[in-house]
């Protein structure tokens, strides 16, 4: 099963390497990882999606918690409902004849067109993992020239926060 963990860490050099090093050292598998500064510039949030059984994920949480630079670890999957999404940029092969079709897909899926040439179209798309997969399958027939995506970022639903 996949679990989404939200980790608040001190925004210091080397923290990401401490977290990722911990995962490889203890044999935990990371599905995706996203990191960025929070509303407080001294704190960063790392969202980690990890694959494993309940016992493994409990160990992951405890070991991450042990790192001095980690402030709070929250398992969003087990602690309640959350909203999550990820961002994708995809360069689709399409000539001028196909352009309208691809633009139609983009419109339907609420993707933004960020770059156009005579034989390609680059879309920016932010949504859940499931919709990202659907988008990729819709674009695949035209030929995907290049694709990049971030890891999932997530916040729990409701007014409560990870720290309170």
């Amino acid at each position: 099963m996949k679990y989404t963990l939200s980790v608040l860490v001190e925004n210091q050099p080397g923290v990401l390497s401490k977290i990722s090093g911990l995962f490889s050292r203890r044999g935990f598998n990371i599905d995706s990882l996203a990191v960025g500064v929070t509303e407080n510039p001294a704190i960063s949030r790392i969202t980690i999606v990890v694959e494993g059984d309940e016992q493994i994920v409990e160990q992951v949480e405890k070991q991450v918690n042990k790192l001095i630079a980690s402030i709070k670890v929250k398992n969003l999957t087990t602690s309640g409902d959350y909203v999550g999404c990820l961002l994708m940029l995809v360069k689709v092969a399409c000539n001028t004849k196909q352009r309208l079709e691809v633009m139609k897909i983009a419109e339907q899926m609420h993707a933004r067109i960020v770059d156009v040439t005579n034989n390609s179209l680059t879309l920016q798309y932010a949504d859940t993992l499931e919709n990202i997969e659907i988008m990729i399958s819709l674009l695949r027939p035209y030929g995907i020239k290049e694709l990049v995506r971030t890891g999932t970022v997530a916040l729990e639903r409701g007014s409560s926060t990870a720290l309170k």
Partner: protein
């Protein structure tokens, strides 16, 4: 204005550091130049790994953080094994390393090593201090982290230019404020009540103590708990000595090299109280064979459920938890079980008979403990000598120090040096083999230089005995790379360092010389001739 180097030394003074173990080099010289102007003693180790072990022995005997120092590059990388050893056994150490100029970092300059990166998995925390103003805060935090919660080594890497840079003033923080580090100390009262209830109805309960009980200083508490409840006690190797071994509730060390009846108790038990024990594979090789309900007390929440499932976890400081536990619990109804196990234990013959052709090491360990003072500190190395000492040396009110988790050969001599410097009035005896002796024999120079009355016993069997035993059992006796051919005459080597040494050919001689060794006011090394076919157990 005050330099970074001077601030580093002032931090050590603020932390009431009395002694440091180190080896200098170019980029740590500014720090040394100030260190020498203070009352803080410095022990010139002969290799940095031993410096970390000496700091470890000092920490374990004194209860304070041990401090070791190295220069950048090879000095720092030499520390790693020592830090890893301390990390595995949760020993508080603050390691200070010099680093190349910060603007040269990452350019592979002379004696540059990314030591904070390399030590990431072997330290509780590490710092690379690029800003001189950070020094007081970093040192305050480092000592706090090393000594609180589950103790462990902390590394502070200070570039040369940070040591030379000037700060406006030196203000040492009163408290370490680390937002993500708040070790839990008090155990959950409800959990303790639940555990007490479970234990009171248990028919075959066992208390299993690990190194956590020792580092929590909960010796009196565990004895009181066992006494009130009437529950028998076993220990892991790291827990050895936490309860006097002649205590009637004590049943020895468990594990693959432990006592058979102690292991049998673990397998027969219906409730086990694991105290500060992480259930390593040498302690409980197959956790699935344990049928008992587990009450797991540990200060590190990550230990709970890591190697064995716990029915009742209690996270917090073992000392305070045991106090509350003892107050809460009623005496248990396990007399029948205790008596049965005591009969079992007392009927088990002690192994080994005194010999006239060799020194029988197990017999000698028992004889030695009778000769030693009650509060003596024994350090054991790694290998057969460790198992002989663990199972046959009778620790009373003293300490048994060894590298339990990492199994680092060469630990006994340097850790004994550290322990002796921490407790100069106590008897300190190190036990090692001829293999492990050669891994740290350079530290005899430290013994000579400091003039400490350290005692060392070398069990010489001309083999790497533990591996030889393995080759006997698993590899049809093919002794690959285990005979120690080419070894020096250890007595002569020791004498060359200006230290008294003697050689014992049999048990009678060993006992006579051990008496002479213990009575001697000086350092003394006793080499015992041991039959290479003597088994570990």
């Amino acid at each position: 204005m005050i330099s970074g180097a001077e601030m580093m030394v002032k931090c050590l003074q603020e932390e009431k550091v009395t002694i440091t173990f180190g080896y200098p080099g170019a980029v740590i010289c500014p720090f040394y130049d100030y260190l020498i102007k203070t009352e803080i003693a410095h022990v010139l180790v002969r290799s940095e790994q031993n410096g970390a072990h000496e700091a470890s022995g000092f920490a374990r005997a004194s209860g304070k953080a041990g401090v070791c120092i190295a220069t950048s590059g090879p000095g720092a990388t030499n520390l790693i094994t020592g830090l890893a050893t301390a990390y595995m056994d949760s020993i508080p150490i603050v390691a200070i390393t010099g680093q190349v100029n910060s603007e040269l970092l990452g350019r592979d300059v002379f004696q540059e090593a990314d030591i904070t990166g390399a030590c990431e998995s072997f330290t509780k925390h590490s710092y690379l201090v690029k800003n001189v103003e950070d020094i007081p805060r970093v040192f305050k935090e480092a000592f706090h982290i090393a000594t609180t919660g589950r103790p462990g080594p902390v590394l502070i890497d200070v570039p040369f230019d940070t040591q030379l840079a000037q700060a406006k003033e030196f203000i040492y923080p009163e408290k370490a404020e680390i937002i993500g580090y708040k070790p839990r100390t008090k155990g959950h009262s409800m959990q303790i009540k639940k555990a007490a209830k479970l234990l009171e109805s248990a028919k075959r309960p066992v208390i299993c103590c690990g190194g956590g009980v020792v580092s929590a200083g909960a010796r009196d508490e565990i004895i009181a708990f066992a006494k009130k409840t009437g529950i028998p006690v076993v220990t892991t190797m790291m827990g050895l000595g936490v309860i006097p071994m002649d205590n009637d509730h004590y049943f020895g060390m468990i594990g693959s090299h432990g006592k058979s009846y102690a292991n049998r108790m673990m397998n027969l038990a219906d409730v086990i109280v694991l105290c500060g024990a992480r259930v390593g594979d040498r302690t409980i090789p197959s956790p699935n064979s344990i049928k008992a309900s587990i009450i797991h007390i540990d200060i590190d929440p990550a230990e709970i459920g890591k190697n064995i499932a716990a029915q009742i976890p209690i996270v917090g400081d073992i000392k305070s938890i045991l106090q509350e536990f003892t107050e809460t619990i009623k005496p248990c109804s396990c007399d029948e079980w205790l008596t049965k196990m005591q009969t079992d234990r007392n009927a088990t013959p002690l192994r080994g008979e005194p010999r006239t052709d060799f020194v029988e090491p197990r017999v000698f360990m028992r004889d030695l403990s009778d000769m030693m003072e009650d509060d003596a500190i024994l350090t054991a190395d790694v290998g057969q000598n460790q198992i002989w000492a663990a199972n046959h040396f009778n620790t009373k009110d003293g300490r048994f120090l060894t590298s339990g988790g990492m199994g680092t050969m060469g630990y006994a001599l340097p850790s004994a040096i550290g322990a002796k410097l921490a407790k100069p009035k106590r008897q300190v005896v190190a036990v090692c083999g001829d293999g492990s002796f050669q891994m740290s024999m350079c530290e005899l120079a430290v013994v000579n230089q400091t003039g400490i009355a350290l005692k060392l016993i070398v069990m010489r069997n001309k083999y790497l005995g533990m591996v030889k035993e393995l080759q006997d059992k698993m590899y049809q006796g093919r002794y690959v790379a285990t005979p120690l051919d080419g070894d020096p005459d250890i007595v002569k080597v020791v004498q060359a360092y200006g230290i008294k040494a003697a050689f014992a050919q049999n048990n009678q001689e060993a006992n006579r010389l051990a008496k002479e060794m213990l009575e001697s006011k000086e350092a003394y090394v006793l080499v015992c001739d041991v039959d290479p076919d003597t088994p570990s157990i």
